[in-house]
């Protein structure tokens, strides 16, 4: 036994020493220490990288950096402004007969797809190909293809012949099996393409719209309309062990997807064939760092002015690791192993004090960026309901107004979101044309007494229906069943209970809730919207009658239908941002103020923490992460990481010592008694 104990002791001591010497919490190989690598994390794995389908933020983190677009957003300018990307300029609208409109894009010559085995080798032995307008036409045809189920198929319906092309495809596939068996690009060619998408040579693309629509340009700043190589779609069909195009991105962007293990990590690497590296594109706005830098960005250390006019991108690699849980993700950010990230609710008070970074965070050189997202979170009424909706007439209107005044958005934000939101006065958030910071919606100023007064005017004094003598009972339908969500709904219900209403919360699964919405069997609901592009149309359409859930299954879940609103909306929706448009928006907002189909709660604010070594990081809000603009200082990062993460070894020695201190006397006593 003494022999056994001696060996165990030696082994334990050896293991302890090894652990003490070798342990580190650095998750990255030492060889990457001085490299220009940007480290980021993600929680939800992307479902697809197919640019025609990818729609979530998790997906756009990749597609936004791997796929270039004809237009893009200026990195620093606010309000948001479009600049040329793959196009040489932002096209002007050309009016055509019959109210039609056309946009002509000039594509930069010499733009190449990422090197990929799907292409045959060119004369220089590179497996790539020049991008032509046919590749953008192919991308648009893919969006129109119903088999792909693109979430934005409706947004391109105004391109002339778009819907007809979809119908022709369906018909041909149904009637001709040989046609259905052809590769997608051959099917599209045989189906005749989209009438309003005209390729004039290799570098000029004309988009003809059936009616004027200035907002269509925003869609050409999203990865949906990126050039798509038919070779990649044909090669990566997901059959017989081949990759699927949904998992194999072949774009033209500043980064290429070097590794894609979507369940836990992906790596973007600098694309050496990017158009921005070519001398001919020295002045391309999307290939150099902007020269118009705001003094505030410089003063707050967000942007380094020395980068103005420098060629992009600055980092060689962007590495993403999956963190399923928020706590370890945030801890690793604080340890310096992620360059930037959000703030978790649990640590908010330790990081933010009085709306600013806490002294401890400031001492670490961290920076806080707060951006109001182009979003609106609201409570909606089913406007077809006989009690809360339009059929109830003036009574219903006053009931909605009273319920609107009874909600204190500021307190709601403090309680549930650490104050990370801006109380909403209308559905339009800041930075969107038509937003007026001086406007105060009279029905969004919290006042319980006023709410009671309006409720009494509606014939529900203290919540009692004067016609029946019963307390008014309303149903608040939700699709969230978690405890945290329940608390939020309880808060809203309590606010209405304060003015005398009897509110029943009906929490169901998402499917059951959708079913209720389909059947119109709901009264009050809570929902949110994050805009696709920075235009008021992208908010007002949520209340247009043509999009009413009850009529067309559209996104107007309140099923709000108001003839005056619809008329003004139709006049406003495709106009450029002129004083006339601003006037139309004011009139639209006045209708919503009075009718109250929604109670606008808040616009979400994004809080992003960045380390001192991350340069030129500015949250984009509407657009997609633009890693080509960001840079890192690897030496400073390595130095601070080492400083912050020196292992604390004494507890290990203490544990070893305690084990020895407890064991040795026992062993000695045992042998003394035995021998």
């Amino acid at each position: 036994m003494r022999w056994l104990l001696a060996r165990m002791g030696v082994l334990a001591a050896l293991a302890g020493c090894l652990a003490a010497v070798g342990c580190t919490n650095n998750p990255y190989p030492a060889a990457d220490r001085d490299k220009k690598v940007l480290y980021s994390s993600f929680q939800e794995a992307p479902k697809t990288l197919d640019p025609a389908v990818a729609y979530t933020t998790a997906e756009h983190v990749i597609t936004g950096n791997v796929y270039d677009t004809l237009l893009e957003y200026h990195y620093l300018a606010r309000p948001y402004r479009l600049i040329p990307g793959l196009a040489t300029s932002v096209p002007m609208a050309q009016d055509l007969p019959d109210g039609r409109q056309a946009y002509r894009f000039q594509l930069r010559p010499g733009v190449l797809f990422h090197a990929d085995p799907c292409f045959p080798p060119d004369v220089a032995g590179r497996r790539t190909r020049e991008v032509t307008t046919a590749d953008i036409a192919f991308a648009l045809a893919r969006i129109a293809d119903p088999a792909l189920n693109s979430p934005v198929i409706g947004s391109f319906a105004q391109i002339q012949g778009f819907a007809d092309f979809s119908k022709r495809l369906v018909e041909l596939r149904r009637s001709d099996r040989a046609f259905a068996a052809l590769p997608a690009h051959e099917q599209y060619a045989k189906a005749g393409g989209i009438a309003g998408v005209l390729a004039h040579g290799r570098y000029e693309l004309e988009i003809v719209l059936s009616q004027a629509n200035a907002q269509i340009l925003y869609w050409f700043a999203m990865p949906f309309t990126t050039p798509v190589a038919w070779e990649a779609v044909a090669a990566y069909d997901g059959k017989e062990g081949r990759d699927s195009f949904a998992d194999h991105a072949v774009g033209t962007g500043p980064f290429r997807l070097a590794l894609y293990e979507k369940q836990y990590r992906f790596i973007l690497e600098r694309n050496e064939l990017w158009y921005g590296t070519m001398a001919a594109n020295n002045d391309a706005p999307g290939a150099v760092f902007p020269t118009e830098i705001g003094p505030k960005d410089v003063a707050e250390g967000r942007i380094d002015p020395a980068y103005a006019g420098r060629r992009l991108p600055f980092v060689d690699r962007v590495t993403f690791h999956r963190e399923r849980e928020g706590i370890p993700q945030f801890d690793k950010l604080l340890q310096g192993y992620y360059d930037d990230g959000g703030i978790i609710k649990e640590s908010f008070d330790a990081v933010i004090e009085g709306g600013r970074l806490s002294p401890a965070m400031q001492a670490r050189g961290m920076r806080l960026d707060v951006t109001v997202e182009p979003s609106i979170f609201y409570v909606g009424f089913n406007m077809e309901d006989p009690v809360v909706g339009t059929p109830a007439g003036e009574r219903g209107r006053k009931l909605r107004q009273a319920m609107s005044i009874a909600i204190d958005s500021r307190q709601y934000l403090e309680l549930f979101l650490n104050g990370r939101g801006l109380p909403a006065q209308t559905l339009l958030p800041p930075e969107i044309f038509g937003y007026d910071s001086r406007y105060h919606n009279p029905f969004r100023q919290y006042d319980v007494e006023q709410a009671r007064h309006i409720l009494a005017d509606a014939g529900y004094k203290n919540g009692i229906d004067r016609s029946t003598g019963d307390r008014l009972k309303l149903s608040f339908d939700t699709s969230a069943t978690t405890a945290a969500a329940n608390l939020q709904f309880e808060y809203l219900a309590d606010a209405w209970r304060q003015i005398g209403l009897d509110i029943e919360i009906n929490a169901t699964t998402y499917n059951q809730f959708q079913d209720k919405v389909r059947r119109g069997a709901y009264q009050i609901f809570s929902w949110g919207w994050l805009a696709d592009f920075p235009d008021p149309e992208n908010f007002f359409f949520l209340l247009a009658c043509e999009n009413a859930r009850s009529k067309s299954g559209g996104p107007n879940t309140a099923s709000f239908c108001n003839a005056e609103f619809d008329s003004l909306y139709n006049q406003m929706k495709y106009l450029p941002n002129t004083p006339h448009r601003a006037d139309l928006i004011r009139r639209l907002l006045a209708i919503l103020e009075r009718e109250r189909p929604w109670i606008e709660l808040y616009h979400l604010e994004e809080f992003v923490l960045s380390h001192a070594w991350l340069v030129n990081s500015r949250p984009m809000g509407i657009s997609y992460p633009a890693y080509k603009y960001k840079d890192v200082r690897p030496r400073l990062r390595a130095q601070l990481q080492a400083e912050w993460n020196a292992p604390v070894r004494w507890p290990l020695y203490l544990v070893l010592f305690t084990i020895l201190a407890l064991t040795v006397p026992a062993v000695r006593t045992y042998y003394r008694e035995r021998l």
Partner: protein
């Protein structure tokens, strides 16, 4: 032995067929193919997209009887028959959530899972057996009592707490290992696995050590131990050569049945430590309504359980010459 094995495997096959039927009824009683399609492609998709998705994923057939087919086809061209065919031939199809081939996801996840569960299993077994042997040797001393108290303490705490405490104390405060993450790069993979293995060993320490201690104490009290001592055997020889060897049979019962489950990964550990193994895949399938992946994981779990039972019986016979299978 061979006859026993054949009979045992036949029982196993019958059990498996029953499990498959239960699995089918449970999954399709909870939800129908239309619901699965709606969740996968979204609420606003067109009817032809739903139909296409259902065809691609093999959900376009009736559940039990196909009235539009004739002859045997009435029963073979159904979802039930397709379910049996796919599972028994290990053709698991594609994920309902992201369309990726399930067999590829299993292949990708098996490595990280085994990377975690094998060291966890070996270390856990080693630590528990060694400590149990040690306290059995020092039975009725303060060391024995101290370890027993420690065992009770570790058994009384949920494993979730070990994970959170491990990440906080070892990862964040002491900074010995990364808090979470995974990288298959051989240069760094060990540092990612160290903390989850440590947490797993501590979480399983109490129950296993108590069990093995009891087994060892029972063996120490037997006549052959006294005889060995009387013949002049040293303490180490008695404990390792006699007590440990004879205690192997009940230990095997506990251990061998766990071996097949090493392949299915550790649900909580993988999920919290961001290890892309099969345990995390299962959790994600539950969270993401990925029914096809979930069905596959439940089926593999049942298959491995049956395999574990057969392996345990065989290991009995190998470890103890007195046991005869037949």
């Amino acid at each position: 032995m061979a006859a026993y094995l054949v009979r045992r495997m036949a029982y196993g096959l019958i059990t498996l067929l029953g499990v498959l039927f239960l699995l089918f009824v449970l999954f399709f009683a909870v939800t129908d193919p239309d619901d699965i399609a709606r969740k996968a492609v979204g609420e606003r998709a067109r009817p032809e997209v739903y139909a296409q998705w259902k065809t691609n994923h093999g959900y376009d057939k009736p559940l039990f009887i196909n009235t539009s087919a004739t002859g045997v086809g009435r029963f073979t061209e159904t979802l039930l028959a397709e379910h049996y065919r796919r599972m028994l031939t290990f053709d698991f199809g594609r994920s309902d959530a992201d369309d990726s081939p399930i067999s590829r996801r299993l292949r990708d996840g098996a490595g990280p899972s085994l990377g975690l569960t094998v060291p966890l299993f070996v270390m856990g077994l080693l630590v528990s057996v060694v400590v149990a042997l040690f306290v059995a040797f020092f039975r009725q001393t303060y060391i024995d009592r101290l370890v027993l108290v420690l065992c009770m303490l570790t058994m009384s705490v949920t494993s979730l707490l070990y994970i959170i405490a491990g990440q906080y104390f070892v990862g964040q405060l002491l900074r010995w290992f990364p808090i979470s993450g995974f990288d298959p790069n051989p240069a760094v993979v060990a540092r990612f696995l160290a903390l989850p293995v440590l947490v797993g060993v501590v979480a399983g320490f109490g129950a296993d050590t108590r069990l093995y201690r009891t087994i060892f104490l029972e063996e120490i009290g037997r006549d052959y131990v006294r005889t060995a001592r009387a013949k002049g055997c040293g303490d180490a020889r008695v404990m390792v050569r006699h007590v440990l060897r004879n205690a192997l049979i009940p230990i095997l019962t506990n251990v061998v049945v766990q071996i097949p489950f090493l392949f299915t990964g550790a649900l909580l550990l993988e999920s919290f430590f961001g290890i892309p193994g099969l345990g995390a895949l299962t959790v994600e399938a539950i969270q993401g309504n990925d029914f096809s992946t979930l069905r596959t994981m439940v089926y593999l779990g049942a298959l491995l359980f049956i395999a574990g039972q057969i392996l345990t019986d065989i290991s009995y016979a190998l470890a103890d010459p007195r046991v005869r299978l037949g």
